[in-house]
Amino acid sequence: MGKYFAPPGAVAEISARRRQKLARNPGLGKAYLEARRAALRQMDALVEKAMQTLRAKKCEVHLAAGAAEARELILNLVDAPMVVKSRSLALEEIGVVPALRAKGVEVVETALGDFVLQLAGVLPAWHLSEKEILNVLKSGLGVTGDLRRALGGVREHLRRYLAGAAYGLTGANAVVAENGSLVIMEDEGNARAVSNLPHTHIAVVGIEKIVPDQESAMTVCRAAAVYGTGQDLGNYLSIITGPSSTGDIQGKQVFGMHGPRRVIVILLDNGRRRCLESGFEELLYCNNCGACLEVCPVFPARGPAYGHHYPGGRGAVFAAFTGGIAAAREAGLDLCQSCGKCREACPAGINTPELIKRLSRK
């Protein structure tokens, strides 16, 4: 069931929208690349700074060297039978979902697509047709009617989990070093709920996502939206700077007013520094927009077999830094046809075939 990637119709739709947005904002790719480069050039300093400002904003901050460390942190934190989560590649990268489930914790996906897949028990797949979605919802939740009504049913169903969860797990599109902010972009509003309703919000973010200031974060988000879904901006951008608080009773600051009283940020290295140090900085320019996947001749056929956590050729290269060259081969390093189409599609012009070649030579 399902397709690894959207059928040509949807792709055409997205690229038409993208062309229109880029015509209005032709410098976006370049601005994005510059913002990323500037940030990576001072990565160590930014990590330092972000840890300091996040803490100043009363977030609990951890710097995890590897996936296992990050995973353990979360496993030790979560002392509830159920957690809610929104889509995040960093969460997939550390494998926290299977680990939580193994511990007996129910993990509830809140993005529609992920939720439906979870309901159908097919993992991992990428995109279901509307009809397939309706079928799953009918058999899984017993909701009937058209998509709109069915979505109402999903909303109600997930609300119960969102209202009851003590922990919410998310990734982030950026961390802003100057203010200690997390920036999360999405379309559905589920990430807002996950990061606002439970009393503890846990965010896992790769250290390459740290940018110096809000302006750079906006550039990152604009690029992710235009190249990812062909929108000017994702529907919801949440800039979160510390836990929820109020000072309305006699001026005393109390945490956990309407949002979480604890915000835990796990900054994830997991091979990123190594990547930078061994001359593969380019790999970290990736914004996970997926524009490259649309044009890759290999990806639609192979799907999750091409890449590792991060889909496609770029994911295969990154696997080398988290699991060594064998892992990269396992992730399909040799499948690349060197057509270079991904490079043209990428806002940062990441030259994946070249990276693959260099890696293979190593």
Binding site: A10, I14, L112, S129, L151, D232, N235, Y236, S238, H258
Partner: protein, 706 residues
Amino acid sequence: MTYSQRLKQKISEGLEDKVSAFVRQMVTRVQGPVIREMIRKFDRDELRSVKEYAIGHLAELVDRSVARLQDNGFIVFRARTAGEAVDYILKLVQGGVVVKSKSNAVKEIGLVDALVAAGATVVETDLGDRICQMGNIPASHPIGPALHVPVQKVAELFAAETGQPVPPVPEEIVKVARETLRQRFFEAGVGISGANAICADTGSVVVMENEGNIRCVTNLPPVHIIVAGIEKIVPTLEDGIKVARAAGLYGMGLDFATYVSVISGPSRTHTVEGRVVYGLQGPGEVHIVLLEEGRWEAVKEGFAESLYCINCGSCLGRCPVYGELGERYGHKYFGGIGVIHAAFGSGLDKALEAGLPLCLGCRKCVAACPVRIDTPGMIQRLREQAVAEKGLGRGRKMLLGQLLNNGSAIQRIAPVAGGLVCDRDGRGGWYPRYALFGLEKGRRLPELSKKSFLSDAPRRSGKGERKVAYFAGCLNNLIFPRVAGATLRVLRNSGVEVIVPPGQKCCGYPSLANGDRDGAVRNAIANLRAFGDAGVEAVVTDCATCYSGLTGYPELLAGDSRWVDSAREFAGKVKELAQYLVETGFQPAAGETQRKVTYHQPCHLAAHGLSHGRDLLQSVPGLQFAPSQLEDNCCGFGGTFNLDFYQLSKTIGAHKIQPIHGSGAAVVVTSCPGCMVQLMDLLGSGGQPQVMHISELLAGGGGQHG
């Protein structure tokens, strides 16, 4: 009741409401220094240019953002008036629970009452607002509306709401509030919010907060309605972030508010078929009501600057009038900027009732504003309109036109008339025996001098390379010739030749402050004539208010081609006494060394960034300088403000007394005869500490130019 009676009533209510005034002032005392520290690096010019551009291109930006917002799936309604906005929303909301977050625009259109009348249950979700709503308690502060409510009372309110005992502990109350409001969020059919900014390029709405209630209001109910004035539109997403940053900094003293949310349409997802479907975890329907009400009129009548306001509330924290009266100063929007808003939203009479006559012109709000909005300047122009419509009033005309400008008349009448109705305290003070001529009983008036300064001032005195002209001003002329004399002595003794041009008049500031522009122009021209060919390097004044008045001539005469050039040249030469002395390298020789001295900084110098008086004092050899807290707080004098609103004036000034006594000083020195009048009244006949003009202190000790 006339507007002025209603205003008087609001003032007396405000003056009685001491608890909420205390809270406002306490918040300013605690938060003020934090904010001042944080905003150091903020680029006000950048934000101002964003707003200048946005309001300068408003029509175009409105069209562009409407198109983008619609592209994004917002349902946009352009409301010409508040009534239209309310009607539109009433069609959307048929009863049920409505959750709302803090919004000035929602307040402006009176939406809550209309919704309640239509049968809806409207629930405030900001904790402070909710407390006020539950207890039906008026707000005391724009950001912390319930700060004046004791924790015991808050606990009782929530206990009544839940039917369970609630301990009077903030942490426990917050838990209960979170739970009860959560239920409301889930059951609500509609969420209503305002917007901090609307970004035209991405078609997005920016909202900011610390509690997370706005995130709930805008995410949990199936329908979200945003109400925002068109002045909230800025060109880009980045500009919207700038606005949010400024509002966090200036309004809350945070480098970034806890939650800044950028919303670009209804909750949605894209299916593989390329379709967009709406209403996942967020609302499937988002309306945005763009409110025009009064905004175009403001632009048309030359008050576009009032639309630069981002509603951060920073000005309120510094405004002495707001500090006492709170929300009674303003109408829907508060403080001086709120008065201006009232003029265009509800007309001049409403503005008068909202407090148009109350602004002291202290310019504290301008200094505090992230956009540097010239609120007192706009208020002054509105007063001109009011005078044009309603006239100046006979008494005021006489005071400004005759008495201040014609010393001899007042001098002839005053000693006789004054003696009949006043007691003297033998220290140059008069106490009215009856409440006469608007002068209240119990106040201390300075005795008018028997002879005005100008009637026998030396036309030319002193010798030296430097040559200046002296501008005396009304108060020195009529009440403190001794100050004027001391100023001449200081200048002469330090080797400066001083001329006192005859024919000089009142600087015109009092006329302008009363909305009598013509009178101010007449005085300005008379003074330009008097000082025209003096051939001096500087025009020195020892009155802070006159400094403001005189340096304002180029603007005052901007439209008069015959005078504008000389006004510019003249204004370029105007120096405040201490400024002149410091800039010419004056070294005070010796001065008061026996008694401790403190300083009061006049608003009219602070507004121009002049602090030479204090510097000069500290350079007097052997002088024991005792700084007092709130040194640059307004004394509350405000010229005719003090005659019109004596109790308010005195209440504002009273805050200075404690710190002045606290400094342990025996002498309080200032650089403005207006402030002297007020301080002498406030400190009373005890004469402790003694009030002195800086020139009096310096004249005692002499000094030299280096």
